[in-house]
């Protein structure tokens, strides 16, 4: 349904998106997971025809967004990262305006507005202005505007940033419902758990490049069955490298002054055998933490960094 081919975008010298390719099948929830500045929004903007790709192309349902913008945009629902609503118009007036741009009018428009408002739990607040809303309510209205015209493809850009857990659950629930009804969803986030919870497949993106891509299971397997170990203490980088590199059964992912990250080799001797070797000798380790296999580990394995807010 969505086919992204070698997308690339530069902003005066800075390569924001660097050869991104993936496909999203109809009815699938596809996640684009990456830290801030990874290039998620830039990618999304190129997909929905807001930003012209520097290179590569996007096909929605087999059609190029830039060749047939109107036809393609009719199929798209976009929920932008910023809360793009008119604060001074009521929620209903915002929706009415947006619906009329998609050719909805009269009784049908009104029915759609009622439906969309109650879907995101704003039925009671339709006649209020967003400037009186909480952050979570504004986010839900922002989502609502992307759903109104029942798009075949829904693009969501970090729709849960800065909202309370309750509202967040509501948003995830709505996305799941929409997808269950057959809508193709592209969901970007920097929240690991959201991606794990929601997505059928996902791609991990950092510095404008897709690092890996697959189903959740495939990605977890990539992280290996093994745990990830984090050491911290008052050692320097050189000493840590010297000490840790020769140890059997672990792979050094990242070494810095005072911290190191290692992956436990599933085929190696195991945690209990490795741990004493890590801690003996002259390396001043103050703390060790062990993380179970998860997307977090995949990310750490791929970048040596942790994915954070």
């Amino acid at each position: 349904m969505i086919r992204v081919e070698r997308l690339r975008k530069e902003f005066d010298g800075l390569v924001a998106v660097d050869g991104v390719s993936f496909t999203v099948e109809a009815g699938e929830i596809f996640g684009l997971l990456g830290p801030n500045g990874a290039g998620k929004t830039t990618t999304l903007n190129m997909i929905c025809g807001v930003l012209k790709p520097g290179d590569g192309r996007v096909l929605i349902d087999g059609e190029d967004v830039w060749a047939k913008p109107k036809e393609v945009k009719r199929k798209l629902g976009v929920v932008p990262q910023e809360i793009a609503v008119y604060d001074d118009l009521t929620a209903r007036d915002n929706l009415r305006f947006w619906g009329s741009l998609h050719g909805l009018r009269g009784a049908e428009l009104k029915a759609r507005i009622d439906e969309a408002l109650s879907r995101v739990g704003l039925a009671e607040r339709g006649d209020d202005k967003p400037k009186t809303f909480s952050g979570g309510m504004k986010r839900r209205l922002n989502l609502c505007m992307g759903l109104l015209h029942r798009p075949r493809v829904l693009l969501l850009d970090e729709p849960t940033v800065g909202i309370d857990p309750q509202a967040r659950l509501n948003v995830l629930e709505v996305v799941r419902e929409i997808a269950a009804a057959g809508t193709t969803v592209l969901y970007t986030t920097h929240y690991m758990d959201e991606a794990e919870e929601l997505c059928d497949r996902l791609a991990i993106i950092d510095h404008g490049k897709i690092l890996t891509l697959g189903t959740l299971d495939q990605l977890r397997r990539l992280a290996g069955e093994g745990e990830v170990l984090r050491l911290s203490g008052s050692f320097d980088q050189a000493a840590a490298s010297r000490h840790l590199a020769p140890i059997d059964g672990v792979k050094l992912l990242h070494v810095g002054d005072g911290d190191a990250v290692l992956a436990l080799d599933p085929a190696g001797p195991g945690l209990t055998a490795v741990l004493p070797r890590l801690l003996d000798g002259d390396l001043a380790v103050a703390d060790v933490s062990v993380q179970r296999p998860s997307l977090q580990n995949v990310f750490i394995r791929l970048t040596g960094r942790e994915l954070r807010d």
Binding site: P69, E82, I83, Y86, D87, L89, L101, G103
Partner: protein, 383 residues
């Protein structure tokens, strides 16, 4: 097309939600126009000013008589006296010196003397002066005609012959020219404030809200709708135009109400006032988008718009009649849409010359509109 209208309607709807926007759009122009209209109302229209002139005829010759006749045709409050009958305190006196006719016919230069009291009535002085110049021109025309007719000698008889025949040269000595009439009262304050406030709203509210839409992402969201760029820009332009038209309509209707209830002199042609302002709105609407498109920060955009409006209003003749400023400044006004709008409005509102007289100025305004729209469309980025 539906998209264009939806965007335009949305902008209008947002203005209606904005209390201070409403006050500045609808109330302030009326308040300002009323205040300045009442403050500067006075019988200073030179076409109706009574211009007194005493003529002392020391010459008593044929050319002096001709000059007096020409002055009489100029509709002055004329008082022709012999040298020994000079009144005690004339406002202004034209002295035709003895030997005037003889010396002029002999081809000598003769000086006519205009004696004036310190002026209290400026327009009347201008009128008197213009008519004296007109009468002299008429006399000269006759002299030229007489000298070219017949045997080529200039004589009283040649002049008599000239009167018998048709006029060869006719100098229309009307009160005309640059100092023609200076609009005052409501005839100036209505056009002046309408021109200023239509621009003010477009360049502050218009520019600010567009820059705000870029900042809060609604403009980017608009770019995801199934609309072409032309439709989006067209919608924004139509929205600003619609707001200006509502503003203008309210303003003109208020003026009509003021005429009906208080008998204010709001000019000769309220419909003409509306039409000229509507053309002017076409010029100003894209200018607002231009400011909002070029300046990122909404507050900066609105501030720049306000300053620009005040500058253009002052220089364009919205605050005081352009006729009272130095000529270089009057030329400067012709570089500004406000200057042309005021020019057109004076024709229609103050001078009652009808819309046809304003057409050249309207064409200039249309050219401004095309220029501003082209630049705005070129420079405006939705994302």
């Amino acid at each position: 097309m539906n998209g264009v209208l939806a965007i335009a309607r949305c902008d209008l709807q947002r203005l209606l939600q904005d209390r201070s926007g409403l006050i500045w759009t609808f109330l302030m122009p009326v308040v300002f126009a009323a205040f300045f209209g009442l403050a500067f109302t006075g019988g200073s229209d030179p076409t109706t000013a009574r211009a007194y002139l005493t003529v002392v005829d020391e010459d008593q010759g044929p050319l002096a008589r001709r000059l007096v006749t020409a002055l009489e045709a100029g509709q002055l409050e004329l008082n022709v006296v012999a040298p020994d009958q000079r009144p005690a305190k004339p406002v202004r006196t034209l002295v035709i010196p003895a030997g005037f006719s003889r010396r002029v016919l002999a081809g000598e230069t003769v000086t006519l003397r205009l004696e004036k009291e310190p002026e209290t009535n400026e327009p009347a002085a201008l009128v008197a002066q213009a008519r004296i110049v007109g009468a002299i021109a008429r006399l000269l025309a006759d002299l030229v005609a007489a000298s070219t007719a017949g045997d080529g000698t200039l004589s009283p008889e040649a002049l008599e012959r000239l009167d018998a025949g048709d006029d060869l040269v006719r100098v229309e000595a009307r009160y005309a020219g640059r100092v023609q009439r200076v609009p005052s009262g409501f005839r100036h304050s209505l056009p002046g404030n309408a021109v200023m406030f239509v621009m003010l709203i477009a360049l502050t509210h218009g520019a600010g809200s567009l820059a705000g839409e870029r900042r809060n992402g609604t403009l980017r969201r608009l770019a995801t709708a199934p609309l072409s760029r032309a439709e989006i820009l067209g919608g924004k332009l139509a929205g600003r135009l619609g707001i200006a038209l509502v503003q203008i309509t309210f303003f003109v209707l208020t003026a009509l109400a003021a005429r009906a209830f208080f008998g204010f002199d709001v000019g000769d042609d309220p419909l003409g006032l509306w039409l000229v302002l509507a053309v002017y709105a076409l010029t100003v609407a894209p200018l607002g988008l231009l400011f909002g498109g070029l300046i990122r920060d909404p507050d900066h955009a609105a501030n720049a718009g306000a300053l620009t409006t005040l500058g253009m209003a002052g220089l364009g003749g919205c605050w005081w009649p352009i006729e009272v400023v130095p000529e270089a400044m009057q030329r400067l006004a012709l570089l500004l849409p406000t200057g042309w709008a005021m020019r057109a409005l004076h024709q229609v509102v103050a001078f009652g010359n009808g819309l046809a007289a304003a057409v050249p100025s309207l064409l200039v305004l249309a050219a401004f509109a095309a220029l501003f729209a082209a630049v705005a469309v070129r420079t405006l980025r939705l994302t």
